[in-house]
């Protein structure tokens, strides 16, 4: 009997994802030309054309109601479609299947399926869609750029190559408010150590003149970015959700292999390349690095992305793509940066543990909160566990995450400072505060607390955690 009453829960999942440009096949019979990318690729051609056509129609149709703001999403019982026009006439559409519950029926009847269409948040998946484009642009430049360089013949394979892999890494079931913010976690650091890092970055840039921009991270948290904010935001996303997790696993698995110091000259150091050559000594080593595109005052520029890591400190060096990177350069970089970075990393580690000891374990927040500042994209969450390549784990129930998302939507509607306090079904209190450009979401688990007590509790949190910023009560 137990097996019969068992319900089956399905999380939201990706149904399809496509990129099209209506201007590429305006005439009848040429519809296929509009489609630049379609996932899943095995879908039959006519169905692809039908689906794209439908989207086109929806976009056209909704335009009559509001010509300035194009359609963003379409809600249906089974799924939700997200529309995004990142560049003129280029549309990206993502179709997400709503989460559902499968309830088995007696007597061999097919199970009843209940779609939970309200569980999906437009803001979250809209942000995911925009991020897909940003990530494509980071590694490939704009669609327009590919069109200029080689037309559709160039663009299509680029899209294929990128999205084929990227879509596999989308984990729609674990997307939440943090995807909306797409923020940057900054590493807390004392002034002196920060200045040492500054000094290190400046010296390396002076010594290796090719290096145009540098970014410095520790423990997957940002400390310094020479890139502008928007570029750093997406690069940070790439580093923390893709590159670092990929490399952290072998580190954890085989400790001694990662910690075997490279002996170069007399200096012992732990530096190694995360992009480019895995082993400098290897005579077959290839000196090819990923290329990224960043904004400049007049358009964009293409750069080599060198990511170099020693212990928990990672540095990104960005070098104009017009320069060929050689073994000699990499060896020079390794010899220069390796020892210094090793030293710096242990300095930071020492400072960090020292500060922790001073502040004491009781200062560790007992609150679950998410903080985000739109001005510097600083994000802090005690709700999320450490991100891995596959999933971002949260320590709270998805229902609560949904409430956070809802409050965020409310905040987005008005400019004024606001405060929202919600009593959730499960004895939880959820508080959202917005002050100027900052947002704070707190989840409290106090069974018999009343509104006043909850308010006091949040005030206390603000006083301890955010006493050095201007955050209105």
């Amino acid at each position: 009997m137990a097996a019969v009453t068992q319900e089956k829960q399905y999380t939201p999942s990706l149904l399809s994802f496509f990129v099209y440009n209506p201007s590429f096949g305006p005439r009848e019979g040429e519809e296929e030309k509009k489609i630049l990318f379609y996932h899943p690729s095995e879908v039959e051609k006519n169905e692809k054309i039908r689906n794209v056509g439908l989207c086109e129609a929806i976009v056209q149709f909704t335009r009559t109601f509001c010509p300035t703001k194009p359609v963003k999403s379409l809600h249906t019982q089974k799924n939700r479609q997200f529309f995004f026009e990142p560049e003129d006439s280029f549309w990206i559409v993502m179709i997400v299947r709503n989460p559902m519950v499968e309830k088995p029926n007696k007597d061999g009847k097919p199970p009843t399926i209940e779609y939970q269409e309200e569980e999906v948040l437009d803001t979250v998946y809209g942000a995911v869609l925009r991020q897909c484009y940003s990530m494509y642009k980071l590694f490939n430049g704009t669609f327009g750029r590919a069109m200029e360089a080689g037309g559709v013949e160039l663009l299509i394979p680029k899209l294929e190559k990128f999205f084929y892999r990227y879509l596999q890494t989308l984990h729609l079931q674990s997307c939440d408010l943090l995807d909306v913010f797409s923020g940057i976690s900054f590493f807390p650091l004392d002034k002196m150590t920060y200045l040492k890092i500054q000094s290190f970055v400046n010296r390396v840039e002076e010594n290796l003149r090719l290096v145009k921009y540098t970014a410095f991270l520790y423990n997957d948290q940002l400390i310094w970015s020479g890139l502008e904010q928007d570029d750093m935001r997406i690069l940070y996303k790439y580093l923390t959700t893709s590159l670092f997790p990929r490399h952290s696993e072998p580190e954890l698995a085989g400790r001694d292999c990662a910690l075997r110091p490279e002996v170069s000259g007399n200096l012992l150091h732990y530096g190694r390349f995360l992009t480019g050559p895995a082993n400098l000594k290897d005579p077959e080593a290839k000196f090819r690095f990923p290329r990224i595109f960043v904004h400049t005052e007049d358009g964009s520029e293409e750069l080599h992305l060198i990511v170099y890591k020693a212990m928990s400190a990672a540095v990104c060096f960005m070098i104009s793509a017009s320069v060929e990177l050689t073994r000699d350069f990499c060896e020079r970089l390794d010899a220069l940066v390796g020892p210094q970075l090793t030293l710096l990393a242990s300095d930071i580690c020492e400072q960090f543990t020292l500060n922790r000891r001073i502040s004491g374990p009781d200062k560790e927040p007992q609150f679950k909160f998410i903080y985000f500042n739109h001005m510097n994209l600083a994000e802090k969450s005690t709700i999320h566990m450490r991100k891995t390549a596959s999933v971002s784990l949260t320590s709270v129930h998805p229902d609560l995450m949904k409430i956070l998302g809802d409050i965020n939507c409310d905040f987005a509607r008005v400019d004024e400072d606001e405060e929202v306090i919600v009593k959730a079904m499960t004895d939880y209190w959820v508080v959202g505060k917005k002050s100027d450009q900052r947002e704070l979401y707190v989840i409290l688990n106090q069974k018999n607390a009343n509104l006043i007590e909850v308010n006091e509790e949040v005030k206390r949190l603000c006083a301890t955690q955010f006493n050095n910023i201007f955050f209105l009560d």
């Binding site: 002034k191 002196m192 500054q198 510097n376």
Partner: protein, 655 residues
């Protein structure tokens, strides 16, 4: 070739009548006076020194050849030695009789090697059999023996600065016995032995007085020994060995200066540098015993800079017959007729000049490529400030630009000295505050030497012009400023806010707002009201500056009024009201400001809320919701009535 002579003779030498068959010249190291004695004094004695302006002229009877002549301290009594048995005295105190009187040495068969004044009326005779300390009574024209010591003496040296008399004893002369004179007493210090390069057999006098000199370097007394090379011993070149002579305890060998050559040398001390003149090459070397050299054994020193000659010197033709067209005559430097005295005196008796030797710092800059070592050297010199600042400018400038590590090293060295001074100053202030009674004698106000280069010096002379210089990459400018700030922080020196302003100005000029944002985020630019105001002014070009500024004002916790002004200026009246309530100053804030802002916003509900909030406050404070006349809110009351009617006004509670 650029100017490289880092030593020079002073511009205004002491001039005297040069030595000749009729004119004998003597020099007194204690008073730094040159005596020109013509015909044994009968045709006049002219005393000049310590500078060219001071001179004394007199006559004395020619009673035989003068061997030594010196004034007591303060020119009170003149002592003249004419024989090997006695010294004659002449009063120079106007009211006392001027007739000479004389004193023979006490020890039988002893011959007087010389004498030294240790005070205005105390004199010590050095004989080959010992020393005799006398007190001279000019009024009575008598002399009284205070103390004597007998020991066999080869030769002696006297250092007036420390009042230490050094006697050479023993057969080889290398056992030195120092005595110190203090408050009319004579005390024996521990004797010590100079290591000779070779021990002669049979024993004979091997240590010459010419090879020994006494001087004070960095406030410490030293005996300097010029150790010539010897073919037999394992010493290929000459060296100067310094023996530290402490007030208490034994004299110890402390430093060795490697001369790397052989020949005839002479020593001077200038600005705590040991200057070694080498006659055959006509060059001089300088040594700084405080400079550590990593590649040398402990306390072995190489010259700081390559050997150079003293700056060429021209003797101006002055005097009664000036021929204007005639150029000054070049002076022969390192002449064999030169005599060198401690610490910094060079005398050419044959030409009649006394010079003080000086160090010129600007040429040293180009001779020492290692800027770190150069700074170590310069920071210990007396007139170093402008030279140091010019080096700082130089390493930031295009042609000879230093790399960032070099810049950092230089900054660190400057700030180390700066920090030490600040700490000493702070200790002194603390000691003064805790009561001047205790340790007041021990606590002296620290002297600010030229080596203390503070932030305002750097700002005025180096950084402000550097940031404005055309053609310098802004990356480098910012890196240098950050390096300076880092260095200050490392030395725990509070950074002045004008340096932060310079950083902000540079970043803004080059549109590096995100960089600025990050610096502020990590509090690299420390909070201050001026900085917060500067940020506010940037809001129009960089909107996030508004938030940064408010955060800063909040952290200062003394800027609540400013925060209210900022919020009201943005018409965030409710926010301002909430803020003022959260900091607990709701009761004494001016209602007018808030009501003005609310009225200007044109938002009826906002005005209503603010108005009622203040009415409630009035009620709470005074038991009456009405505004006091002093608050000048009449127009707002009228406005409120217009909007909401008389009946909406809160009425005073009727009893």
């Amino acid at each position: 070739m650029s100017e490289e002579h880092y030593l020079e003779l002073c511009e205004n030498p002491v001039q005297f009548e040069h030595a000749s068959s009729v004119n004998n010249v003597f020099f007194d190291e204690a008073n730094k006076q040159v005596f020109a004695v013509r015909s044994g004094g009968a045709t006049g004695v002219v005393v000049k020194g310590p500078d060219d302006k001071k001179s004394i002229a007199f006559r004395m009877d020619d009673k035989g050849e003068v061997k030594c002549i010196k004034f007591s301290i303060g020119n009170k009594i003149l002592a003249v030695q004419r024989t090997s048995k006695s010294v004659d005295f002449i009063n120079f105190i106007p009211e006392y009789p001027h007739t000479e009187f004389s004193q023979e040495c006490k020890m039988k068969n002893a011959s007087v090697l010389g004498f030294c004044w240790t005070n205005w009326n105390e004199i010590v005779f050095i004989t080959d059999q010992g020393i005799e300390l006398y007190q001279v009574f000019p009024d009575k024209r008598s002399v009284k023996l205070v103390k004597s010591q007998s020991l066999s003496v080869n030769w002696y040296q006297y250092c007036p600065e420390t009042a230490v008399l050094l006697l050479s004893t023993s057969g080889q002369g290398n056992v030195l016995q120092p005595f110190v004179f203090r408050n009319g007493t004579l005390s024996k210090m521990t004797k010590f032995e100079i290591e000779l390069p070779v021990v002669p057999k049979p024993a004979k006098l091997s240590l010459s007085e010419r090879d020994i000199a006494m001087a004070t370097i960095y406030g410490q007394p030293y005996v300097m020994y010029l150790k010539h090379h010897s073919r037999t011993a394992n010493s290929p070149s000459a060296e100067v060995v310094l023996y530290h002579l402490p007030r208490e305890g034994a004299c110890k060998k402390s430093h060795v200066l490697k001369l790397n050559t052989t020949g005839k040398f002479a020593l001077n001390i200038v600005d705590n540098l040991v200057v070694v003149h080498h006659q055959s090459t006509q060059t001089s070397l300088i040594y700084d015993i405080h400079l550590r050299e990593p590649d040398c054994a402990l306390n072995t020193h190489q010259p700081v800079l390559p050997a150079r000659s003293i700056h060429p010197y021209r003797i101006p033709l002055t005097g009664p017959v000036v021929v204007p067209s005639q150029p000054p005559v070049p002076c022969q430097l390192y002449s064999s007729s030169w005599s060198v005295f401690q610490p910094d005196i060079i005398i050419s008796a044959s030409e009649g000049y006394l010079w003080y030797l000086q160090v010129k710092l600007p040429p040293t800059v180009n001779l020492q490529q290692d800027k770190g070592k150069l700074m170590d050297f310069l920071l210990r010199r007396r007139d170093c400030k402008m030279v140091i600042l010019s080096v700082c400018s130089q390493i930031l400038d295009g042609g000879e630009r230093g790399s960032l590590p070099v810049v950092a090293t230089v900054f660190d060295k400057l700030n180390q000295v700066y920090k030490e001074y600040l700490e000493a100053e702070q200790m002194y202030t603390l000691a003064m505050e805790s009561g001047p009674s205790r340790n007041s004698a021990a606590q002296k106000r620290p002297v600010r030497t030229q080596a203390v280069i503070d932030q305002s010096d750097m700002y005025t002379h180096v950084l402000s012009s550097f940031t404005e210089r055309k053609g310098v990459c802004h990356k480098f400018i910012i890196a240098v400023l950050m390096e300076y700030i880092r260095s200050l922080n490392q030395s725990q020196i509070t950074v002045q806010h004008y340096l932060y302003e310079l950083v902000i100005k540079t970043l803004v000029q080059h549109n590096r707002f995100y960089m600025l944002h990050q610096f502020l985020q990590y509090h690299v630019l420390s909070d201050s009201k001026p900085l917060a105001c500067l940020l506010l002014s940037l809001e129009s070009t960089y909107p996030p500056a508004h938030q940064l500024s408010l955060d800063m004002l909040k952290r200062l916790s003394t800027a609540n009024d400013e925060i209210v002004e900022v919020l009201l200026s943005k018409q965030q009246v409710l926010g301002a009201l909430r803020f003022i309530r959260s900091v607990g100053s709701h009761d004494n804030v001016s209602a007018r400001k808030f009501l003005d802002a609310a009225q200007q916003s044109g938002d009826r509900m906002l005005f209503y809320t603010v108005f009622r909030s203040f009415q409630q406050r009035n009620q709470r404070l005074r038991g009456n919701p009405a505004f006091n006349p002093g608050e000048h809110c009449e127009e707002h009351v009228v406005h409120f009535k217009q909007l909401f009617g008389e009946q909406s006004l809160m009425k005073a509670a009727t009893v």
